[in-house]
């Protein structure tokens, strides 16, 4: 029975199916809203699904110079690890594997898809991919500092002088004290986190690594067919995971008592977060240079997060 329940968790509810479905849906909304912001009609909402299934139907070419095993395993690694991260993120009151992981674990788990992308890109043997993974790595280094600051700030805010890294506890705290976004000292941290999300997902101004018109989509350059489908799906799944992380860190605390209703609300709030952090920024900006990106994250975004950290630290 436990096994069945866990199987359900992994394959259906907070795991694979839920993440894929919501991820594709969110990607559809993202594209639609960006289109409207640019006065276009935009693709239908199910366009990401079409993209995914079309790629499944394409031929898979493995370059002769590539390391076959790593080349094929990398997208699966990325996809599967993303399926699991969702299990550790509380959907308001509900966490699939409760207490199995905390924020630091999630911080590391979300680097695994990035690492998988890097291994996949590196194993393809293309110089474009090499430049791409170099940029991907610098991007990861760039957003890691503000991300860490935000996580520690939330932990301090919630725990006081206790060690609280558990997201479920963060969620519980918000149920009692109101969402963290309503505490004004957390607003800079929330802003910083909103800017971390697009870099983690890899959308417009921060998609230096996958710049399609400079370096032919970087690490993905040699991918085709189903492996590419998995990587593209991973990007969509990252949307729900990162916005979900934001939601449970800053906008948690809603308790309706029904898991389904909670999940629905969760998805709605995630979409709202995505509209602010991913869509709007995507629609109004052009791609940054990698050195500007690094500087931006280590000065502006980290600065915002640091302001919040100091405010929380002095007890505001």
């Amino acid at each position: 029975m436990t096994i069945l329940r866990y199987l359900f968790y992994i394959l259906v509810f907070p795991g694979a199916l839920f993440t894929i479905a919501v991820g594709l849906f969110m990607a559809g909304i993202d594209r639609k809203v960006i289109a409207h912001m640019q006065k276009r009609v935009g693709p239908p909402l199910r366009q990401p699904m079409y993209d995914f299934f079309k790629l499944l139907g394409k031929e898979t070419i493995i370059p002769a110079k590539a390391n076959r095993a790593a080349f094929l395993a990398a997208p699966v690694l990325s996809f599967v690890s993303l399926c699991f991260i969702m299990l550790f993120i509380p959907i308001f009151g509900f966490t699939a594997i409760n207490g199995a992981a905390d924020m630091i674990v999630i911080l590391y788990l979300v680097t695994i898809p990035g690492a998988a992308l890097i291994i996949g890109g590196a194993s393809s043997g293309s110089p474009f991919a090499s430049i791409g993974i170099s940029r991907e790595m610098v991007t990861m280094m760039a957003y890691e500092l503000p991300f860490v600051l935000v996580l520690l700030t939330v932990a301090k805010k919630v725990g006081g002088d206790q060690l609280v890294f558990n997201l479920s506890l963060v969620s519980d705290y918000q149920a009692v004290n109101g969402s963290l976004l309503s505490h004004w000292s957390m607003i800079p941290a929330a802003l910083a986190m909103l800017l971390v999300i697009p870099a983690e997902v890899g959308t417009q101004p921060f998609d230096v690594a996958e710049a399609e018109n400079e370096i032919c989509e970087g690490p993905l350059v040699e991918y085709s067919g189903s492996p590419l489908a998995l990587f593209k799906l991973s990007i969509n799944m990252k949307m729900i995971i990162m916005t979900g992380l934001f939601t449970s860190m800053f906008l948690g605390g809603i308790r309706t008592g029904f898991v389904a209703l909670d999940a629905l609300l969760f998805v709605i709030i995630c979409i709202a977060v995505m509209l602010v952090s991913i869509t709007t920024i995507h629609a109004v900006t052009a791609r940054l240079k990698i050195e500007h990106l690094f500087k931006f994250y280590w000065t502006v975004v980290a600065g915002l997060a640091l302001v919040s950290t100091i405010l929380v630290w002095i007890g505001m």
Partner: protein, 637 residues
């Protein structure tokens, strides 16, 4: 019987060294047999101590020649093995056993191998002695043996460029460190008229006089040199770059740990200064600087082994920081990380050695590339090691780093000190920078494109692969079962490190500590957040395999996965914007551009500091020592 084991282990090692010098300098089989048997027997002896010491929580005291203390004064040389020393001894003997196995393959064909194994076993024996001794001067002697055999082994392949230079740098810097330690010991002897650590611990518990304070500062600095923390780290990079890979492995996995062990022994037990806030601050400060400088220098390197050397420095920074926090959780993390570092850094050095051995001595990251197709096993091992050192779950590096973060953050939250938060953030950011530099190696050496010169590279021989696979398996297993290991293996060591009373009582007789007014440091309980890698891993592997089979294995309803066929070469060549695919490997120096650009001013300073001149390095050592001394005199009186 069991109390003879520590001495037997040390003596056995030295005996083996002499036997090899006598019988093994000509015949390889005899030599290998002697070294293998000696290492196995000594490992057996050390592992036999696990039961009484770690599991039962005992401490073994042994007086050489039965010179027991007279009237509360230790006269003879005493060996005292507690869980802390034993854990480090186990780390050492494990590393040496594996490294010895690897040496059989790696060192084949070198000259004067008899001397090599002699020195190698002397190094091992000295470190075992260092970890097990209860006598301060004996400790110093072991440090000296360790230093000189390490120097000789570093420059062992004398025909290699820079080998002698590196050995000289190593020798000069370590002699300075030894000098500091010796001065410190002399000062202590001046004050206390004894050299037994247990007795010193009871005598120094009343507070520090100026003389002992100076001795303390010098000893800490001296062990700092031995552990290569940051201002003292300079010779290590050169040494690793030229030393044979098995030696690199033990240099980074064991010799630096010996310095850390000395520091822990010195601070926690002998001077018992760890409950002083200032002490914690200076040690963690050095640790954090070591972490950051090590990793940032590693990012700029373009020599495989030099890069790994800077990572050794960075990881030692983690251990020192963790140990410097002065909490049980921190020390747990630190010792756990010391063990893990031996495992994954050993693995990485062995992988580097395999590459070096098979490509005929190329370690320049710009000249390698694409070796994953030629050396798949080495690549797998390297990826395991890289994932472990970067702290990706569920490998062991994650488990120990995670304990360190928690320790640092708990410290910050409890004391309300912003300084510890900065330490936590540094530790977290350094971790991702570590990942970055391993991405760089992975791209520059194992992935990317195969160059013409390396077309015929073969996989390393089995004798080199077996040690690597052992280490890789250990990396994964210790990561998955980190909970029992931390609780049943590391935690006793931590308890023994803070349980000074027992340490003194076992050595000097029951009630001695109480008579001297020694009390144990107050240490908070170990509180660990939950993270069950087993659940994660089992689920992950199952679903990974299922997904792999379903999504990529089936051919039913998608384009067929086409095998490479020479007729269709154009289709399977890389996309070069339509150009003919040529060799255009992106080497190590080309990676991480945006980061290097933004950190230019920092690197300019670093470049000036790492000038390569021994005099400069000596200046750095002296200045850093002076800073430690001044700091201690200013804040700890």
């Amino acid at each position: 019987m069991i109390q003879h084991f520590p001495v037997l282990a040390v003596m056995g090692m030295f005996l083996g060294a002499f036997l090899i010098e006598i019988f093994g300098s000509k015949n390889a089989a005899v030599r290998n047999a002697i070294s293998f048997i000696t290492f196995t027997v000594v490992a057996g002896l050390v592992y036999a101590l696990v039961k009484p010491i770690i599991i039962d929580g005992g401490v073994i005291a042994y007086w050489m020649g039965n010179w027991e203390p007279v009237a509360g004064y230790a006269i003879g040389i005493g060996y005292e093995v507690d869980a802390l020393g034993l854990v480090f001894a186990i780390i050492a003997i494990t590393a040496f056993w594996i490294s010895n196995l690897y040496s059989f393959g790696y060192m084949k064909g070198e000259h004067h191998l008899g001397h090599y194994y002699t020195l190698f076993m002397m190094l091992c024996g000295s470190i075992l002695g260092f970890c097990m001794t209860g006598d301060l001067f004996n400790m110093y002697i072991m440090v000296e043996i360790m230093t000189f055999s390490a120097v000789a082994l570093t420059g062992f392949i004398t025909e290699k460029d820079g080998a002698l230079e590196a050995a000289l740098k190593y020798l000069v810097l370590c002699s300075l460190g030894s000098g500091f330690i010796l001065t410190g010991i002399a000062l202590i002897y001046l004050q206390c008229h004894t050299l037994n650590i247990a007795q010193l611990a009871s005598m120094l518990s009343g507070g520090l006089t100026p003389t002992t304070l100076l001795a303390f500062a010098l000893t800490v600095a001296g062990f700092g040199v031995k552990s290569f923390m940051v201002p003292f780290h300079t010779p290590l990079a050169d040494a690793h770059a030229v030393a044979p890979s098995p030696i690199s492995m033990v240099l980074s996995g064991v010799v630096t740990k010996a310095g850390v062990y000395g520091m822990i022994r010195c601070i926690y037990i002998m001077f018992r200064a760890m409950d002083l806030t200032q002490m914690q601050i200076i040690i963690t400060a050095f640790g954090a600087v070591t972490m950051f400088v090590g990793v940032s220098m590693a990012l700029a390197q373009h020599d495989f082994k030099r890069l790994l050397a800077f990572h050794s420095i960075s990881q030692v920074g983690y251990i020192i920081t963790a140990a410097g926090l002065g909490t049980a959780l921190g020390l747990t993390g630190g010792i756990f990380h010391a063990m893990n570092h031996m495992l994954f850094k050993g693995l990485l050095f062995l992988a580097a050695g395999a590459v070096l051995h098979q490509t005929g001595g190329v370690t320049n990251l710009d000249k390698l590339g694409g070796l994953s197709k030629r050396m798949p096993h080495t690549t797998v091992c390297f990826l395991f090691g890289a994932a472990a050192i970067s702290g990706l779950p569920p490998f062991n590096g994650f488990a120990s780093k995670w304990l360190i973060y928690q320790a640092a953050y708990t410290k910050a939250a409890e004391t309300g000190n912003f300084y510890y938060l900065i330490i936590t953030i540094t530790a977290l950011v350094v971790s991702v920078m570590t990942l970055a530099s391993f991405v760089k190696i992975a791209q520059a050496v194992f992935f990317g494109q195969l160059s013409e010169e390396n077309k015929d590279v073969k996989e390393a021989p089995a004798i080199m692969l077996v040690p690597m696979y052992i280490l890789a398996a250990l990396c994964l297993l210790t990561g998955i079962f980190y909970r029992p290991i931390a609780a049943d293996f590391i935690l006793p060591a931590v308890r023994s490190a803070v349980d000074v009373v027992k340490y003194i009582d076992v050595m000097m007789g029951e009630g001695y500590a109480a008579a001297a007014g020694v009390y144990n440091m107050a240490v908070s309980n170990v509180m660990v957040s939950s993270w069950s890698p087993i659940v994660y891993l089992i689920l992950f592997v199952t679903v990974f395999i299922a997904a792999f089979i379903v999504i990529l294995g089936s051919k039913s309803d998608r384009g067929a996965t086409v095998e490479v066929d020479p007729k269709n070469a154009m289709k399977h060549s890389n996309f070069f914007s339509g150009e003919e695919a040529v060799y255009s490997h992106v080497g190590g120096s080309d990676m991480l551009w945006g980061y290097k650009y933004d950190f230019k001013p920092y690197y300019r300073v670093m470049e000036e500091l790492h000038s390569g001149r021994v005099t400069d390095y000596c200046n750095m050592v002296v200045i850093a020592t002076a800073i430690i001394v001044v700091f201690m005199f200013m804040f700890m009186r």
